[in-house]
């Protein structure tokens, strides 16, 4: 359908959201990603039975960790949709983009920068 969504979204392909690891998400946050969201099949429709449910648990885990270190946990989200549902994909992309815009850039980036400046 070629519906438009924000260019800020870049997709990393995995065979199943169940493959997405906590460390993958944390690493991305650490490197300065402003937000991460995992898009899995609808619950109950996972090709590999319950990979999307595992992913949701891991997202929740990452959210807890972020909270614990004082970062906004909303930067990480789990979404579910059917692969043919382009309008919903766009809706989620826009929702995520708006959420991140409100939150502003990943604070880790700012710290890294100020550290760089201090060093300089």
């Amino acid at each position: 359908m070629r519906l438009t969504y924000p260019t800020s979204v870049k997709i990393v392909r995995v065979p199943c959201t169940g493959k997405v690891d906590v460390q993958h998400m944390l690493r991305a946050m650490e490197k300065g990603a402003d937000g991460i969201y995992i898009v899995g099949c609808k619950e109950g429709e996972c090709h590999y039975k319950y990979g999307n449910l595992r992913a949701r648990r891991r997202v929740e885990q990452v959210q807890k960790i972020l909270n614990a270190v004082g970062m906004q946990s909303e930067r990480v989200q789990m979404y579910n949709l059917s692969s043919s549902d382009a309008p919903l994909f766009v809706k989620y992309a826009e929702e995520m983009n708006d959420r991140i815009k409100k939150l502003g850039p990943n604070p880790i980036k700012a710290r890294a920068k100020s550290k760089d400046q201090q060093a300089a």
Binding site: T7, K19, K31, Y48, R54
Partner: protein, 1394 residues
């Protein structure tokens, strides 16, 4: 399609309609659809949206290429002698694309402006609107284009050949035929010189057609444009005197075209015709046009009734004549002149006198004309319609005047050409072949009026075009005739509900203002008028052949010249699965108001509204006003179960389920409370687990179900709401109002299928489904031809998919010898070892035509890629997936010693395999490949932000390059297949599965736990159709036992089972001795069957007068079985649809009806009462329900919370039940109560444990996917059929068994299986044996091996990566998705910027 020959050796004659797009070249980019001006109804959205004439049916369509819809050629184009794409330029006018429109016109015809004024427009007579209201003003529309071009001072010519040719061609005569010949030859690159006798070019266009009709400047513009192509016109040169054939030959002309025209007037043959004052019409017009002095006096007579006579009369008037009288032979209505010209003459004050022929001229002494005597003409034509005027010499009349101008016909001026041996016919025309226009002098061609007689300009253009084609072929030594007899046929569309639109009238110069001047009479259309007129076009040809798509397609995939292809195929079997139509409720508009109310939709339309890719993108709104509906009603059985109104007596089987589904999804789509009501007679949710779905709809989602068939839907015109009036179960009349009504339309066999069946000599039943028998469910009446899907009978998707595999099994039986004989092995080069090499990455950035390059700065991305780490090459391709680009890629890989490839283009979903093949073909491991999707994930979705899209493309390429650098070669392991099957269970299903496999040439071991084969089949008597099951089972068992490839083991127990697909090992203990035997087999088929439920209710087992249906069936087979049965009550749903077993047992309704009919036939006096909840005689079984009612069987609905009560009485049993119609309880003493006991799964608990097979809550085995893999189990290599899967009829079991055999055969037919390389691998050094992987694997694959660490069998691993993500020690990596590989992308994105 036609079919000759015999099973195993058919010849199938097939016809493939053209697609007009080369599927091998189409990249599915959609640029053609953007350019297409034609919008038509989108069938895929059931008419709720529009699509273009060039289209792709839906996003996931296979093949993924576009196609063009055509309905032959549009009538206008077909009828136009020059075959101009009329519908095309009209469509382009509609879009305001005037330049494209005029270029399209000029592609076939050089004179849009001239013909826009003078054409006799046969197209308009053929115009479909002509049959409906008024034809389109086609001529005026292309005149508009000519005027527009003049207004913008443009000269828009179509493409010409790039290379000029050396050959010269001479054209004699600069009339429309000669000019057209020159025009088309010049476009082919030839040097053309036109020799014209007159001082001006244009022929009759210049000196015949008066200026007030065709302004000379407009003519000159179009002649000048021909000269712009390099054509030279030499005027004042007479053929025969100034030039000759010999001189032309000597001057090096390779060919000559003769377009001499008809410039000489025909005489009357009346005495004194040579008198002064007697003029010839053509001479008069020519002199007037050339500005010569013409003196005609005040009173002019014109003889003739054709267009030329009218031109003469009107010109005479403009030249100063006061009184002009036209006299002609014909009656007014017979006059050969066009009606609009006659009207113009009358407007011009011309006196027309009909039915007179000249008798003699009056002359004065100076031989000057003074008048004529006319005799009255009584008939112009004879009885055969030939011109043969008859006169009454006694009825004469004299006319007097200063001049008489004779305009009764024209001839070629032959005086000049005498002695040139120009080939002429006896009638004085140029002689030439009618198709090639070649004269007997082979280098000379002829056309135009001098060849075909007086015709219109467009006919001259047509002959000029044909002559140019012939001359080109002649010069190139090609066959002049080949492929030139195209029949221009057309079909007109059926016009329904099209609003009438008046033709846009052309404004004209006031008749008074026309006097004594040659100002153009007609103003033509202005832009607004042209658009209004163009909008009337009905798009008869669908595709308008405007060829805009051809220009838009950079892949050159479009071919408008494609024609239908007929082919003969050698085939051994034929499978028919032509699908279905849905019932058109417009046929019952008086009931359902489907045609008249926009808010009454079919279920198929409603599905599209619910679909995310549908016309409203999944937003639930009603069509009339796009508001969100609050109440929706579904009406069931529209076009099904309806013998009265539509003749479809069968049940369509699927509608109850889809209505439940649609109602639930509709509710899901709404963030408000949506009220949904399904009006039904019976809810037929009889499939596996379907009842649970129905309960979910009813109890969880709150969908309401009302037992009533709606007989009238009325629209409230004020609101668009729909009013339903119905009687509820208690008989009360209820009025209800809904915002939308969905008609649950049934399935039908399309007319086209009926015709195919007739051609193939296949018998159809009374509803036009293929005739089959219960024991051979997919065999049609013609041996070797099989049917499946809805053509075989109404059914849902799982059953259709199953049956398709069954048909494949049946078809394969005739083909087993030929298996594998047409396989070509792909030879792959030895793989290059890249281990330890530094990555050398090649990046191929794709333009995808303008799909990517139109948005993203591709050269910029390519340059960027060059600078990325490890990149040794970066290139750009127009289409990276094209064959030539693939060949180049191979060379580049070799040349630059590339060892990792990144293609930056579209989606790996469709294109990854293509590029991986390319890698393999040059010896590179195919896993050293990565794609960056800069089309679907970038240019397509960020078209509004090219800059942002380019930045993103760089980022995506950077991420892919980073991952590519981290890739390692992977190898797909091959494992051999044990080519033997084990079938578990020797019932009807198991035996059919065994035969299905064995007949394909593979060994089968059939294991049956009982001593005898047959299973539950041994207890059955007859099918509802009357087939004897006992004999069938006996024959089947004999066949199985006698089959050389089948080994039957009875009295077996399975004690151990291990292995994986292709390599299973089963230990069985056989016979009384319990001897152990190990079976090795590649596939396993589970056919363990089911039992009849043994009722605990209704006194079963306590009272001998309470039986099950099976027991009654047995009893009725015995002599006197029906004796003494005056009252029989049957109770349905015993042991089904209750808390213990929520499922419907599917077969019991038909069992009851089967036995009831049998009983009624044995003893018509027996009163039978069937107490039911819903009668579920789905599909064609509905006929038996109808039959039972006809025979007087009575049906009473009961509700489960008010179930019947059965008590024993002294001489029978008493049954009390509620009658909803009477609203009271009925108590009945019966001789017999028959319980429709449900189907209970066989006892497979232990077996399931040993074999690790999934069962559902009711202990039926679970298939891998309900629709996609209905006979496969979760464990690969294990298949499922018969009642072990779910309750089903014997015939359904047979089909399912054949399906399982077919699926199993696909595995057995391969000598080895190739395993995926994307599997999880354990690093034993890191493994802590914590078992988390074993617990996380959805397939239970990880095992702790002998070394005490986890081991994942790559034959069993599905590659999801769950274990890798869960493993706390990170000891597991999923190949190709290793953590480093995923993280490399993240790192590259976030900190790899360069």
């Amino acid at each position: 399609m036609n079919l000759d020959g015999n099973p195993g050796n058919f010849k199938a004659h097939i016809r493939q309609e053209p697609r007009f797009i080369d599927v091998t070249k189409c990249t599915s980019c959609g640029e053609c659809a953007k350019a297409c001006p034609i919008e038509v109804t989108n069938e895929y959205d059931r008419g709720l949206s529009k699509r273009k004439a060039v289209f792709k049916k839906y996003a996931q369509a296979i093949p993924g290429a576009y196609a063009i819809s055509k309905r032959g050629t549009a009538p206008c184009k077909a009828t136009c002698p020059a075959h101009v794409s009329i519908q095309g330029y009209i469509a382009l006018i509609n879009q305001g694309k005037y330049q494209e429109a005029i270029e399209l016109f000029r592609d076939e015809h050089p004179f849009p402006a001239v013909c826009g004024r003078v054409c006799h427009h046969p197209c308009e007579s053929a115009c479909t609107r002509n049959d409906y209201d008024e034809p389109l003003g086609i001529r005026e529309l292309h005149r508009f284009l000519g005027d527009w071009e003049n207004g913008v001072d443009g000269r828009f010519l179509p493409k010409t050949a790039e290379e000029k040719r050396d050959e010269k061609v001479a054209v004699i005569g600069a009339g429309p035929a000669g000019l057209s010949t020159a025009y088309f030859l010049a476009r082919k690159g030839y040097a053309v010189t036109i020799f014209e006798k007159l001082p001006v070019a244009g022929g009759m266009m210049a000196v015949g057609i008066p200026e007030y009709r065709l302004p000379r400047n407009m003519l000159q513009r179009e002649i000048d444009m021909i000269c712009d192509l390099g054509v030279e016109i030499k005027t004042g040169v007479t053929f025969g005197t100034d030039i000759t054939f010999d001189s032309l030959k000597a001057d090096g002309y390779a060919a000559v075209f003769m377009g001499l025209g008809l410039h000489k007037g025909r005489g009357l043959g009346v005495e004194n015709e040579d008198a002064e004052g007697v003029l010839q019409g053509v001479d008069f017009l020519r002199d007037a046009a050339l500005g010569k002095e013409v003196s005609i006096g005040k009173n002019v007579l014109v003889i003739g009734g054709g267009n030329v006579a009218i031109d003469v009369a009107l010109t005479a008037k403009r030249k100063g004549a006061e009184n002009v009288t036209m006299v002609c032979l014909e009656r007014r209505e017979e006059m050969p002149a066009w009606e609009h010209e006659i009207e113009e003459a009358l407007e011009g004050d011309i006196n027309i006198v009909n039915s007179y022929g000249p008798k003699s001229f009056f002359i004065d002494k100076g031989n000057k004309f003074s008048g004529i005597e006319f005799k009255s003409c009584t008939a112009v034509f004879d009885e055969q319609g030939r011109f043969s005027p008859a006169f009454d010499e006694n009825a004469c009349e004299a006319f007097f005047g200063d001049t008489v101008i004779v305009a009764i016909g024209q001839a070629t001026e032959t005086a000049d050409i005498e002695g040139q041996n120009v080939p002429m016919t006896a009638r004085g025309r140029l002689a030439a072949d009618p198709v090639t226009l070649q004269t007997p002098l082979e280098w000379v061609f002829a056309g135009g009026d001098a060849f075909h007689g007086p015709k219109s300009v467009v006919d001259a253009v047509a002959s000029g075009k044909e002559a140019a084609e012939s001359i080109d072929r002649y010069i190139n030594g090609l066959d002049l005739r080949e492929g030139r007899t195209k029949e221009w046929t057309f079909d007109k569309p059926e016009i329904i509900n099209e609003p009438h639109k008046d033709r846009t009238r052309v404004r004209c110069l006031d008749p008074k203002a026309r006097e004594c001047n040659f100002l153009e009479v007609s103003y033509g259309y202005n832009e607004e008028e042209a658009k209004a007129e163009a909008d009337r076009c009905l798009k008869c040809g669908i595709c308008s052949e405007c060829y805009q798509c051809v220009d838009a397609c950079l892949a050159n995939a479009i071919d408008h010249e494609q024609i239908a292809e007929e082919r003969d195929l050698d085939v051994g079997s034929v499978v028919l699965c032509p699908g279905n139509d849905i019932f058109d409720p417009g046929r019952l508009d008086d009931i359902y108001s489907y045609n008249s109310s926009p808010n009454v939709l079919t279920s198929a339309e409603f599905e599209r509204i619910l679909s995310a890719s549908g016309p409203t993108m999944g937003h639930l709104v009603r069509p009339s006003d796009h508001t969100e509906p609050k109440r929706i009603a579904w009406l069931q059985c529209v076009g099904s179960r309806d013998n009265n109104r539509c003749g479809n007596g069968y049940c369509s089987s699927v509608c109850c389920m889809y209505a439940c589904k649609e109602a639930m999804i509709a509710k899901d789509h709404c963030d408000y409370e949506l009220d949904t009501v399904i009006f039904n007679m019976d809810v037929r949710t009889f499939g596996k687990d379907y009842e649970k779905y129905y309960l979910r709809a009813k109890d969880k989602s709150g969908v309401k179900f009302v037992k009533s068939r709606i007989h009238t839907v009325t629209e409230d015109p004020a609101t668009g709401n729909l009013l339903l009036r119905y009687a509820d179960e208690a008989g009360n009349i209820v009025d209800a109002e809904f915002d939308m009504v969905v008609l649950s339309v049934g399935l039908e066999v399309p007319q086209s299928t009926i015709e195919t069946a007739r051609r193939l000599d296949i018998n159809l039943n009374k509803y036009n489904f293929a005739e089959t028998t219960p024991d051979h469910p997919v065999n049609t009446s013609r041996p070797g031809v099989f049917a499946c899907g809805i053509f075989q009978g109404p059914k849902d998707i799982p059953t259709a998919v199953t049956e398709a595999s069954a048909a494949a099994c049946a078809a394969g039986r005739n083909l087993s010898e030929a298996r594998g004989t047409r396989i070509k092995e792909v030879v792959k080069p030895v793989e290059i070892d890249v281990e330890g090499e530094i990555p050398r990455i090649g990046v191929f950035v794709c333009d995808c035509g303008i799909n990517i390059a139109g948005v993203i700065d591709v050269p910029g991305v390519r340059e960027y890629a060059e600078k990325l780490p490890y990149v040794v090459y970066a290139g750009e391709n127009l289409f990276t997936c094209s064959q030539d680009a693939q060949d180049q890629m191979k060379e580049i890989i070799k040349e630059h010693k590339i060892n990792r490839v990144v293609v930056s283009s579209c989606t790996p979903k469709t294109h990854e395999p293509i590029f991986m093949d390319t890698l393999e073909s040059v010896g590179l491991n195919k896993y050293l490949f990565e794609m960056a999707n800069i089309r679907n994930q970038d240019s397509w979705v960020h078209g509004n932000d090219p800059e942002g899209a380019t930045i993103k493309a760089r980022e995506l390429v950077r991420m892919s390059v980073a991952r590519a650098a981290s890739l390692r070669p992977l190898h797909e392991r091959q494992i051999p297949v044990t080519r033997r099957a084990m079938v578990v269970g020797g019932g009807v299903a198991g035996m059919n599965a065994a035969l299905g496999i064995a007949d394909q040439g593979f060994e089968v071991v059939l294991v049956e736990k009982e001593a005898e084969l047959g299973g539950l089949g041994n207890r059955l008597t007859k099918t509802i159709e009357g087939m004897d099951i006992r004999n069938y089972v006996k024959d089947l068992a004999a066949q199985v036992k006698g089959h050389a490839k089948i080994d039957v083991l009875t009295n077996y127990v399975i004690v151990d089972f291990s292995g994986f697909k292709g390599n299973f090992k089963t230990e069985v203990l056989v016979g009384e001795s319990m001897a152990s035997r190990i079976l090795e087999h590649g596939v396993t088929i589970m056919a363990t069957g089911a039992n009849e439920y043994r009722p605990k209710e209704f006194l079963y087992g306590e009272n001998p007068r309470v039986l099950t249906q099976l027991e009654l069936g047995d009893r009725l087979e015995e002599a006197g079985g029906a004796d003494g049965l005056d009252h029989v009550v049957m109770i349905q749903c015993v042991g089904s649809r209750n808390e213990e077993n929520p499922n419907c047992s599917r077969i019991c309704c038909q069992s009851a009806i089967k036995n009831a009919i049998h009983l009624k036939k044995l003893n018509p006096e027996t009163q039978i009462y069937i107490l039911y909840r819903d009668i579920r005689t789905y599909g064609l079984l509905e006929d038996y329900y109808t039959e039972a009612r006809r025979l007087g069987v009575r049906f009473f609905r009961f509700s489960p919370d008010d179930a019947p009560v059965v008590v024993a009485i002294s001489d029978g049993v008493n049954v009390t039940f509620m009658d909803h119609i009477l609203g009271r309880k009925i108590s009945l003493d019966a001789d017999l109560v028959t319980l429709s006991a449900g189907v209970e799964a066989g006892d497979t608990e232990e077996l399931a444990n040993i074999m690790k097979l999934n069962r559902n809550a009711e202990n039926f085995f679970v298939e891998a996917h309900v629709k996609l893999r209905p006979v496969e189990m979760g464990t690969e290599g294990i298949y499922l059929c018969g009642t072990a899967h779910s309750p089903q009829l014997m015939t359904e079991s047979i089909a399912q068994a054949m399906a399982a055999a077919s699926r199993a055969t696909t595995m057995l037919s391969q000598p080895y299986l190739t395993l995926s390389a994307v599997t999880a691998v354990v690093d034993p050094e890191k493994c802590a044996s914590c078992l988390i992987c074993a617990r996380s694997c959805p397939y239970g694959v990880p095992r702790i091996n002998d070394e005490g660490v986890s081991h994942i069998d790559d034959a069993l691993c599905q590659g999801c990566g769950a274990c890798a993500a869960e493993c706390p020690a990170k000891a597991i990596q999923l190949s190709w998705y290793e953590d480093d590989q995923i993280m490399s992308k993240v790192d590259a994105l976030l900190e790899g910027e360069i």
